[in-house]
Structures are given as structure tokens and as C-alpha cells.
């Protein structure tokens, strides 16, 4: 799964044709870390239809805030660089909900 940072976010997400899902996570966010294996699995499963990437907000705080993300876990769908849909919070970001988010947008 592609790791985003401040140097590649613009090119890989905002300037990209097609659909991108970004997993905003953090080093101290236990729910985020618990979700990661499921996200890796979904990235494998849907990798040919949607680009799934992750962004460590602990190392990229300003970038996350620029995307108006101030809470974890958060998953955002971008289509042709435009943000389309998002889910946030440990109760809402279940593996099933993330998969549904992907399916709705491919």
C-alpha cells in the first residue's frame, strides 16, 4: 500500500485521475492500527479498481490539517482529486463500512 507524505500527496491524490482512498492514521491511534490489516486486505482485493493509500498523520500533521482531518481514524475518497466522501471515528470506521465505502465509489 502506498505511503503518502507531504512530498507525494499532491501528485498521488490531488492530481490523480480516478478514485483514491486515503487511510488517515496515527502512530498512537490504537483503533487505526487495529484496522490496518483489514485495509491492507482491501487494498489487495480492490487494488485494480481503486488506489488505496495511507497517511501517517503523526509525521504529517500539517498536511492532515490542510485536508481538514483532525480526528482518527478517518477515511476519505477522492475522485479526480476532489474529495467525495468520508467516514470518521472508531465506531464508524469498521472493516465493513470501509469496504462499503470502496464499493460505492468504484
Amino acid at each position: 500500500m502506498l505511503e503518502l507524505n507531504k512530498d507525494n500527496f499532491e501528485a498521488e491524490v490531488l492530481q490523480t485521475e480516478g478514485t483514491v482512498l486515503v487511510d488517515f492514521w496515527g502512530s498512537k491511534c490504537e483503533p487505526c492500527k487495529a484496522l490496518m490489516p483489514d485495509v491492507e486486505r482491501l487494498a489487495e482485493q480492490y487494488g485494480d479498481k481503486i488506489k488505496i493509500c495511507k497517511l501517517n498523520t503523526t509525521d504529517n500533521r500539517r498536511l492532515a490539517i490542510s485536508q481538514k482531518v483532525l480526528g482518527l481514524p478517518t477515511f476519505i475518497i477522492y475522485k479526480n482529486g476532489e474529495r467525495i466522501k468520508e467516514i470518521s471515528g472508531a465506531e464508524n470506521c469498521t472493516p465493513d463500512a470501509i469496504e462499503a465505502l470502496i464499493k460505492e465509489n468504484i
Binding site: 496515527g26 498512537k28 491511534c29 490504537e30 483503533p31 487505526c32 492500527k33 487495529a34 483489514d38 498523520t57 503523526t58 500533521r61 492532515a64 490539517i65 481538514k68 482531518v69 483532525l70 480526528g71 482518527l72 481514524p73 478517518t74 468520508e86 470518521s88 471515528g89 472508531a90 465506531e91 469498521t94 465493513d96
Partner: protein, 312 residues
């Protein structure tokens, strides 16, 4: 999968993990089903100073890692899935999962609790954009910024203290004129120069254009509403039980907490309850762990009597 477990434990927080430890130590086959993160709520707090023996490394995630490893060492199995319901029969109980089914002789429900919402306008819209229910998850974002903490119990005051490691200023807004939190924690908060407290006040509204910009505060005595600028709002106003999936199977009180007796028996035979999801007065890691131990022991006795299982 046709394996029949002695004990199926729903929820992998401190209650479930200690139930697993006690069950597997008694040579019962046991499995814990967890839908989210191992360690439950306890894995989301850094400040965990009141669990005996955890003074050296008093963080929730570390303590919970050790609890899980200990249950695992004695043979408890773990599965990541969500329990959606039960089918109970005398001998074998079926536990329905999102992706399958598990069969067991007994069930321990240890599904814990989740944060209660404030119920203020703006809260839902600004979730993940400055409204938070998890300080360890989100504190980072507020480095050198200002945040409001809503609530007056242990969790609110402890997490406010934790947040001062990041935020420039932390303002606790509490609807009463004193905290419910333990005296020692309150004293620590009072001494902390980064913490301000606004008493007798409720958050009427959270507002902001895309991210939190401030809150409207209402004085509970005078009714006066004031504007308060802030970058984040952390809500710790109590918890509610996670027990929807067990409705109609076991008896609950009016708030949806499951009723259990001293031995953790519920109204359904062979079904036990442990931890925060149970009707009780002190919801903490230590009482959750104690409940789990008792529930597993009661399950063991039941299995021995009911199934004449010869052991050892």
C-alpha cells in the same frame, strides 16, 4: 468449522481477556471474538495509573498487550469478527458472526461500552474535524492549539491532563460545580497551569466551517450564553453499553446494561456477563478483569456439572 468451544467470549477488552485467561488456565477451550481493537476502551488511554501493578508503565495499550499475551500463552484463541446474535439451546449455543458462526457450551458477554455523545448541534458534522472522543488518537493534531474537554468524571479529568502534553491550553467545561473524578486526579488537574475550568456550564453548540472554530457555552445557573473560541472539543460525558445484539436473549435494565448476579450469571442459562456492559457501580479495568475471572470460573463449574466433563 465444527469445533465446539467450552467458552466463547464476546469482546476483547480487559473483561474478555481475563475471562480467556481464567478459562484457558482451567483447561477449557476458549475463543475471544473482537470486532475492533484488542484491549477495548482501556487500549485508548495512556493514563492508567489505578490498575494495581501498572505504576511502572501505566499506559493502557501496554497493559492490554500484556493481558492479551497472557491469555494467548495459556491457549485462548482469538478471532477478529463482529458478533451479531445468538441462538441458544440447552447444550450447544450458536454465536452468529458477520462472517460465520461459532459453537460453544457457554458464552461470556464482555462487549463493554462506548462513548456517549454530547447531543449538541454541530457535533456529528464536525466529528474528525475537531470533535473527538479519544485523546490518544487525536491529541497530536492539537499541538500548540487550544482545546475544550467536556465532562467531569475520571476519564474527562485524566484525559484533560494527558492533553496538556500537546495543547497549549485545555479548558474543562463541566455542568456541575465539582468533579466526580477521584480526588487525586482532580488535585493534579487543579495544579496544572495549562488547565482552566469552567463550572456549571454546558456546551450548547459546536460550530466551525469545515473544522471546529468554537463552542457556544450556556451557564446552567444564569442561562447566559457565551461564545468560546477553541480548536478542538474532546467529549467525555460518560458511556453507554454495547448490548443491542443481545436484546431479547438476556435481561437488561432500562439503560440497556445487562443484569448479572454475583457469579456473573445472566437470565439465560450458560450465558454470563462481565465488565462495563454489566449493571454495576464501578466501571474500571480492575472490576472488568475481576468480572471476567468470575464469569469464567462460573462457566467452568456449569460445564463440569452439566456436561460431566472429566478434567486433569
Amino acid at each position: 468449522m465444527s469445533k465446539i468451544y467450552d467458552v466463547a467470549i464476546v469482546g476483547g477488552g480487559p473483561a474478555g481477556l481475563s475471562a480467556g485467561l481464567y478459562a484457558s488456565r482451567s483447561k477449557l477451550s476458549s475463543i475471544i471474538i473482537e470486532k475492533g481493537k484488542w484491549g477495548g476502551q482501556a487500549a485508548t488511554t495512556e493514563e492508567l495509573e489505578n490498575y494495581p501493578g501498572s505504576i511502572e508503565h501505566p499506559t493502557g495499550p501496554k497493559l492490554m498487550d500484556r493481558m492479551k499475551a497472557q491469555a494467548e500463552a495459556f491457549g485462548t484463541e482469538f478471532v477478529k469478527d463482529e458478533v451479531t446474535g445468538f441462538e441458544l439451546s440447552e447444550d450447544i449455543k450458536r454465536i452468529r458472526l458477520s462472517n460465520g458462526e461459532i459453537q460453544a457450551r457457554t458464552i461470556i458477554i464482555a462487549t463493554g461500552a462506548q462513548p456517549m455523545l454530547l447531543g449538541a448541534p454541530g457535533e456529528m458534522e464536525l466529528r474528525g474535524k475537531g470533535v473527538s472522543y479519544c485523546a490518544t488518537c487525536d491529541a497530536d493534531f492539537f499541538t500548540e492549539l487550544e482545546v475544550v474537554v467536556v465532562g467531569g468524571g475520571d476519564a474527562a479529568v485524566e484525559e484533560a491532563i494527558y492533553l496538556t502534553r500537546f495543547a497549549e491550553k485545555v479548558t474543562i467545561v463541566h455542568r456541575r460545580d465539582e468533579f466526580r473524578a477521584a480526588k487525586s486526579i482532580v488535585a493534579k488537574a487543579m495544579e496544572n497551569e495549562k488547565i482552566d475550568i469552567i463550572w456549571n456550564t454546558v456546551v450548547e453548540e459546536i460550530y466551525g466551517d469545515g473544522i471546529v472554530e468554537g463552542v457556544k457555552l450556556k451557564n446552567a445557573q444564569t442561562g447566559e450564553v457565551t461564545d468560546f473560541r477553541t480548536d478542538g472539543v474532546f467529549v467525555f460525558v460518560g458511556t453507554k453499553p454495547i448490548a443491542e445484539f443481545a436484546k431479547g436473549v438476556v435481561d437488561m435494565n432500562e439503560k440497556g446494561y445487562i443484569l448479572g448476579d454475583e457469579e456473573m450469571r445472566t437470565s439465560a442459562e450458560g450465558v454470563y456477563v462481565a465488565g462495563d456492559v454489566r449493571v454495576k457501580s464501578l466501571r474500571q479495568v480492575i472490576t472488568a478483569a475481576a468480572d471476567g475471572a468470575i464469569a469464567a470460573t462460573t462457566a467452568e463449574r456449569y460445564i463440569e456439572e452439566k456436561f460431566h466433563k472429566l478434567k486433569r
